[in-house]
Symmetry: C2
Subunit: 411 residues, 2 copies
């Protein structure tokens, strides 16, 4: 097995060459925590090796983010600075590649007034609407990938001391990214092909609805809209036609539910790191697509606020299938990071829907809504997979097909 | 003497409470290197203690700045992103306080194509013109202060190992900032009062011209424009009426030369850190205010480019008096940082003039030019003080008065 430095170089190469698949002459926007400057510099170096036009840094810092949420004047959370929306929207419109190195402490905003978080999301949601719209419709190549921070590593491995916890988290990140043999790009592409085979089978069935059931209490019917398609693995940027990998790691194949077609009860199977807080024991009841009641053992106020940022936040926007026997799930590690935990488990999202529907390109919001595509400034994944999860699909001609049996694909 | 942590707390307090003198409800823009996140967080904390509305971070990184200058596509240096000019100009217009924590490696851009640096300065000079104009006219409170980086500390103390060099540089910074007794704000105000007494004497003389001479080869006559005044120590923000200290440290009293009234030869007495490069042996000859020839033993191309960014860059914009026996000078340390070295020595600047002239408020560029106020997108200080420097002043009624004798004030 290559040594740590070699693995890290291979990982950086994977993010630039396969994650955003940076093209010569293209700008790279790199979001990173100031404490992760080393790997940010390595990513920038690799981007320039790939012919990058210019690397634009978008730095953040957990401590200063938390301090602002706790101590700034309250009304600053109702607006987003015009320069910030211009930064996001103009670079998105240009088709710059966006690499998000996520190292946030999942509990960074613990204790912060949930209303400040909600108002901040509403304000930035409006301000960077163009950016979000282009992101969900693949108008620019983007990739979210993880880098361990000490705070995150300590939360995931509370029994290890800090250095060991960080090293262990790196190890899990490398494994999940197929970055173990010194040929991460090739190994990732092979993995991406596997996902695309699952996509082909699901698209062939073209299910009308899916019915989820398990002993945890989930009993939910999810209708899929006319013209929906499943996606997974590499996606194609509509601006430059190049395939990119929006999430590293990813194990999911996904589509969207019909906005008004979700009914029943769903219970989360894992904690959810949401807006710098941890939510445990999430339970939603939906009627005609809308969340009509919710509860959580921990973080219920944060969860409630998150479903109330706008009308669409209380409807579902994603249906994703991940086998219970997936590599991240089998690691037995709870990452408190959606990027990992959603890829260890079947999940849904409330909020904005990826427009996985034929003919959606260029449609306005009203037209998308009328096709059953939910619209929101937010999009929050939560995990529902269990070892006993069963999912049955019903086709348009009335056939009932097992999709998941005992937590894994039936085919 | 207080311990290091106590001194650092006192220094942070000095920067927030006296440097920008942050007022309740005011935003703070904090420019810092990502490697200096610790002290940036401490400054933000102190700002919120003072009632700050919101801290906006403006992060930088020497390594990524250098990489961009070396590797980005050439034409990116001809423009400045609109979001960046909006960031600077809108916050300047709002009257936000700006704190610049300077820790740059003075040689960070060594080997970079000087034309890229020049074009980048021209582009950002145009893009943040409103910001610069408000900065030089005290339209918002601002403060430049130093924080040691390992690269800078190693350059200043090449015989010490890194940790010791950084500790030693902190010590010099604390001394220069009067931050040694745990009461930096009070001690700084006393120092500022001393400077204001010198200002009063010089304003009383109201010199028509100054004549500089020393054995190094300086023989220069500098005419001062009608209505000029000397300044030094605290300055008053025109937006909120609050006094602030734009430079910590500062030892200078300064005014502006008449744009077309500088004649003779001037030789620098110290190296100059300019745009990430070090210039040694700088020599200018001026005629009718304009630099008509220049040379340097080291970095001549960088220097030449700097005087050619626009028309005003080849005229002088500042005349500053600092005794040879000043604390920074007596430390015997060459800092390779203008913030320090200019305060160890009499200096001039080429480029933009601070409008230290009565009636200048609200005047447009043409009116200022006609009063002898130089205009440029750049402003570069360079040091001319020596142990044998003599300066004689000539008053409007023809009296010849010694101002500096053997490098120090004659009064």
């Amino acid at each position: 097995m290559p040594d740590f430095e070699a693995l890290r170089r291979d990982y950086v190469r994977l993010l630039i060459r396969e994650g955003v698949r940076l093209q010569p002459g293209q700008r790279l926007v790199l979001s990173a925590a100031v404490d992760q400057a080393d790997i940010a510099r390595a990513c920038a170096e690799e981007a320039y090796n790939a012919g990058c036009r210019e690397v634009i840094m978008n730095w953040s810092d957990d401590a200063l983010t938390r301090m602002r949420f706790l101590r700034a004047e309250s009304d600053v959370f109702d607006t987003c600075a015009p320069w910030r929306s211009l930064l996001y929207n103009s670079l998105a419109e240009e088709g710059a590649a966006w690499l998000f190195l996520d190292s946030d402490d999942p509990e960074n905003l613990k204790g912060v007034d949930p209303d400040r978080i909600r108002r901040s999301q509403v304000a930035s949601g409006k301000a960077v609407k163009t950016f979000r719209m282009l992101e969900t419709s693949n108008g620019f190549p983007w990739c979210i990938a993880a880098v361990p921070s000490p705070a995150w590593a300590r939360l995931v491995f509370p029994d290890l001391e800090e250095t060991a916890a960080v090293a262990r988290l790196w190890e899990e990140i490398f494994k999940a990214a197929r970055c173990t043999r010194g040929q991460a790009v090739a190994d990732w592409r092979a993995h991406s092909d596997t996902l695309q085979k699952r996509v082909a089978i699901l698209n062939e069935y073209n299910f009308k609805s899916l019915h989820y059931q398990n002993a945890l209490g989930t009993d939910l019917t999810v209708e899929l809209p006319e013209g929906h398609f499943w996606a997974g693995g590499a996606e194609k940027c509509t601006k430059n036609g190049v395939e990119f990998s929006a999430n590293i790691p990813t194990e999911e194949v996904f589509t969207l539910p019909r906005r008004d077609g979700v009914n029943g009860t769903v219970v989360a199977s894992k904690p959810l790191a949401l807006n710098g807080n941890i939510i445990e024991g999430l339970r939603f009841t939906l009627c005609g697509g809308k969340i009509v009641s919710l509860s959580a053992r921990r973080g219920e106020d944060i969860l409630r606020n998150a479903t109330e940022v706008d009308e669409g936040a209380s409807y579902f926007g994603e249906v994703a299938l991940v086998p219970y026997d997936s590599p991240i799930s089998n690691s037995g590690v709870l990452f408190y990071s959606t990027l990992f935990d959603e890829n260890a488990s079947c999940h849904f999202a409330f909020g904005d829907a990826y427009p996985c529907i034929r003919g959606a390109d260029g449609m306005d919001e009203d037209a998308l809504l009328s096709m059953g595509v939910n619209q929101s400034i937010t999009h929050v994944d939560f995990m529902v997979g269990t070892a006993d999860l069963s999912i049955t699909g019903t086709t348009h001609d009335g056939r009932v097909v097992p999709v998941f049996v005992n937590g894994n694909f039936a085919f």
